[in-house]
């Protein structure tokens, strides 16, 4: 019975919300290339914003990559996420230069404003807060990145204002 239940669960998962056909071209492109695991995961994350469990199973079935290897790689690299994220990912830089220019204050201010902690997503799925190692804009520290936009020479208040502006824009 137990075996059956697990199988049913697996099927139920596969019928779930994400559209698995989206990754077909990706699998086709990398299927037979060596060293394909990371590009496939990166491509999948580009599509869904994270790595849905179902995609692991599908990729494994179609490429022959082992689930254990895929999971190992997905949890090793900080880029990969196993949970859905908000529409906007707020990356607060905590590189050395930003640290000495008080990046902690930026994180705290944004945490306060959004009511979430580092790594969490707001309930409305609008924002995910992440602290990152270095964005490479060290002379403009402290910085944060939302989408492709980098915001430089921040203060706590400035950072909160930027986040709130996005919120207002989204609610309109």
């Amino acid at each position: 019975m137990r075996v059956k239940r697990i199988l049913q669960e697996k099927e139920a998962v596969i019928q779930s919300s994400v559209d698995l056909t989206l990754i077909d071209p990706l699998i086709e492109k990398y299927k037979s290339k060596k060293g394909n695991l990371i590009p496939i995961l990166q491509g999948t994350q580009d599509i869904y914003g994270y790595l849905p469990k179902e995609t692991f199973i599908k990729i494994s079935e179609q490429t022959g990559l082992k689930l254990s290897e895929m999971y190992g790689v997905a949890t090793f690299y900080t880029q990969f996420r196993l949970n859905p994220v908000g529409k906007y990912i707020v990356k607060v830089c905590h590189g050395t230069a930003c640290h000495v220019q008080n990046a902690t204050a930026i994180s705290e201010a944004v945490e306060d404003a959004l009511g979430i902690k580092d790594g969490e997503t707001t309930e409305d799925r609008l924002f995910t807060l992440e602290s990152v190692a270095c964005l490479g804009c060290c002379s403009l520290a402290p910085v944060m990145m939302i989408g492709d936009e980098t915001y430089a020479k921040l203060t706590g208040n400035k950072a909160v204002k930027i986040v709130k502006e996005i919120k207002i824009k989204e609610s309109n």
């Binding site: 060596k34 060293g35 394909n36 695991l37 990371i38 590009p39 995961l41 990166q42 290897e69 190992g72 790689v73 090793f76 690299y77 900080t78 880029q79 990969f80 905590h94 590189g95 050395t96 230069a97 930003c98 640290h99 000495v100 220019q101 204050a105 705290e108 990152v132 190692a133 270095c134 964005l135 490479g136 804009c137 060290c138 002379s139 403009l140 520290a141 910085v143 492709d148 980098t150 915001y151 430089a152 706590g156």
Partner: protein
């Protein structure tokens, strides 16, 4: 008459400062006015502290305008571009008159960064006009042998710019000597050191120089395939590299029978990293290219014998490759004439932290740290006191003020306990707590440890716990000795550079700032007034307006006082969270 050129610095730093808006504004103005000028993008010229930068080159000379916003762009357009009237107030550099920023350029020698901020990085023609792809043509047309190329690199004395400092020519020779049907050449662009951005600048500003360096390397060691492993946090660098690779392929610099030379085949692709600091280590990087977890492998065999996919491979850093075409074109002597006896040439540094002129500079080896910080870097911000400089990121260490006359070359820097590293220079003033900095780096290396070696995996965690305890006022007698003991254990028992160097920030801060550790442990004080838990918060009765904001935000209700009356913090209830300090709009909270 030559057309007036207008260059807008569009590297990541420029864009972050708003250069895109400036470029778009100028573009719109040009189109509206149908003004006959050449408006172009360029990379980072290094003057990040003056971003966004706009350079105007007309028949009279060149004028670099700094801190330009849309409004100023309109002014420059109306005055300089339309009426040839220079807006002198905004000029930060010109070849015609002196400006207050000239000290930033004095002493700089640009070899690796020769084209950054000069050419359009997305246009191969401009690279070619600036001696681009001439070195490889010269080698192929002159039938210069592989041995000769390697010898020139050896003679130039160039050492690995990623931080290791291993002679590049020697590395090439090893790879050349190992015969195999397939060999790989890899460019390490996984610039993971927090606080360093030299490679990003280079890739965004002059991707073709790196590509040409790789082509020359591939010729020298017989590699048929190349990989540029670039961290995913640098989307613009990846984009420009891909553009450059396509252009180079189209022009016949990459692909089969390069430049018509039968049998010289080489192609190149960019591999995006996935966010792991340890992948900057060469064997971990190769594991990552192969699609595995980026864990270092045991050496020997060295990559030159069995590297990527088990084949002989050579791996160099971005800056190393960018220097190669220059060296081959101008001769070993053109490079080795700069520098010290054992460290030749120039080195790019990223100046950041509490420094007035933050940006990237390229200086000859042998210049003193003090000159870099005070002459080029313009000194410490807000007139504060210079305390230390952090070199080499998480693998490096803090060099104190009294050693600032140390010259930059591999051996002198190593002698201080720090390392040259890839070139990140984070300047710290008196407000920075050295114990906190050590804690910061251990937090970083602990998180980034791949977990393979127990000493690195567990040891960094234990060190971090001790350091955190010290910064929170829970330090104990004997903690410093325990940190040192752990540090040496980790250094001795880790497989790769990450573990072997992870304790460096702790060891150097203990070496040079032991009194600060002792103050934390014995007196429960943070001399830099940085560690929150060790501070006493009081209210200055002269500036307190009684607005009640601090009392409202205090999580433990430790602040008494009615509206419009001077408030008071009850020390027995205060948990040193710092909330009142950050919320007070009148600077009335005093730290001591």
């Amino acid at each position: 008459m030559k057309k007036t050129k207008v260059l807008v610095g569009l590297a990541s730093c420029g864009i972050a400062a708003g250069a895109n808006k400036v470029y778009n504004k100028l573009k719109a103005l040009q189109e509206a006015d149908k003004l006959d000028i050449e408006l172009k993008i360029t990379g980072c010229i290094g003057m990040c502290y003056r971003e966004p930068l706009v350079e105007v080159i007309d028949e009279t000379g060149s004028y670099l305008y700094g801190e330009i916003d849309e409004e100023k762009a309109v002014e420059i357009f109306d005055k300089h571009l339309k009426q040839s009237e220079i807006v002198k107030d905004y000029v930060v550099k010109s070849d015609l008159f002196e400006s207050k920023d000239d000290s930033f350029w004095d002493g700089q020698v640009k070899i690796a960064l020769r084209n950054c901020g000069v050419i359009d990085p997305e246009n191969i023609g401009e690279y070619e006009e600036h001696d681009g792809y001439i070195a490889i043509k010269k080698i192929l047309e002159g039938k210069i042998s592989q041995e000769q190329v390697i010898k020139t690199v050896l003679d130039s004395g160039i050492r690995g710019r990623g931080g290791g400092g291993f002679p590049t020519g020697m590395k090439w020779r090893f790879a050349y000597n190992n015969k195999a049907d397939t060999k790989y050449i890899i460019c390490n662009a996984d610039e993971g050191d927090p606080g360093a951005f030299m490679d990003r600048s280079l890739l965004e500003g002059d991707p073709h120089a790196v590509i040409e360096g790789l082509i020359i390397g591939s010729y020298a060691i017989d590699a048929s395939e190349g990989v540029i492993y670039c961290r995913a946090e640098y989307p613009l660098a990846i984009k420009r590299l891909n553009i450059a690779i396509d252009q180079a392929r189209e022009k016949g610099y990459l692909g089969k029978d390069i430049l018509g030379v039968k049998g010289f085949n080489f192609d190149l692709y960019v591999k995006e990293g996935a966010g792991a600091f340890v992948c900057g280590e060469e064997t971990a990087l190769m594991a990552s290219i192969e699609g595995e977890r980026g864990m270092p492998r045991k050496r020997p065999p060295f990559p030159a014998e069995a590297g990527l996919w088990g084949k002989p491979s050579n791996i160099n850093n971005v800056e190393t490759f960018a220097n190669i075409p220059y060296i081959l074109l101008n001769g070993a002597e053109s490079f080795s004439k700069y520098g010290t006896e054992k460290s030749k040439g120039t080195k790019v540094f990223a100046l950041t932290g509490k420094i007035n002129h933050g940006g990237s500079v390229e200086v000859p080896m042998g210049i003193t740290i003090r000159d870099i910080i005070f002459k080029l870097g313009g000194g410490i911000t807000d007139g504060k006191k210079f305390k230390a400089v952090q070199l080499g990121g998480p693998s490096g260490g803090c060099i104190p003020e009294y050693l600032a006359d140390t010259i930059v070359d591999y051996d002198s820097v190593n002698a201080t306990g720090a390392i040259m590293g890839s070139g990140g220079m984070v300047v710290m003033d008196e407000t920075i707590c050295m114990v906190d900095i050590a804690r910061f780096f251990l937090d970083f290396t602990g998180k980034e440890s791949c977990g393979k070696c127990t000493f690195c995996r567990v040891g960094t965690k234990r060190m971090l716990e001790i350091l955190t305890r010290i910064t929170e006022g829970e330090g104990k007698e004997g903690d410093i000795e325990k940190l040192e003991e752990l540090a040496y254990q980790i250094k001795d028992n880790s497989l790769c550079g990450l573990g072997q160097t992870a304790p460096n920030p702790v060891l150097t801060t203990i070496k040079y700032f032991r009194n600060e550790y002792e103050a934390h442990i014995k007196d429960k004080k943070c001399p830099a007034l940085n560690c929150k838990k060790l501070l006493t918060y009081t209210i200055n009765p002269d500036t307190c307006t009684g607005c009640t904001v601090c009392a409202k935000n205090c999580p433990t209700d430790a602040i008494d006082g009615a509206r419009k009356e001077i408030h008071f913090i009850r020390q027995d209830a205060c948990i040193q969270c710092g909330m009142c300090f950050s919320k007070c709009k009148f600077d009335a909270i005093i730290l001591s």
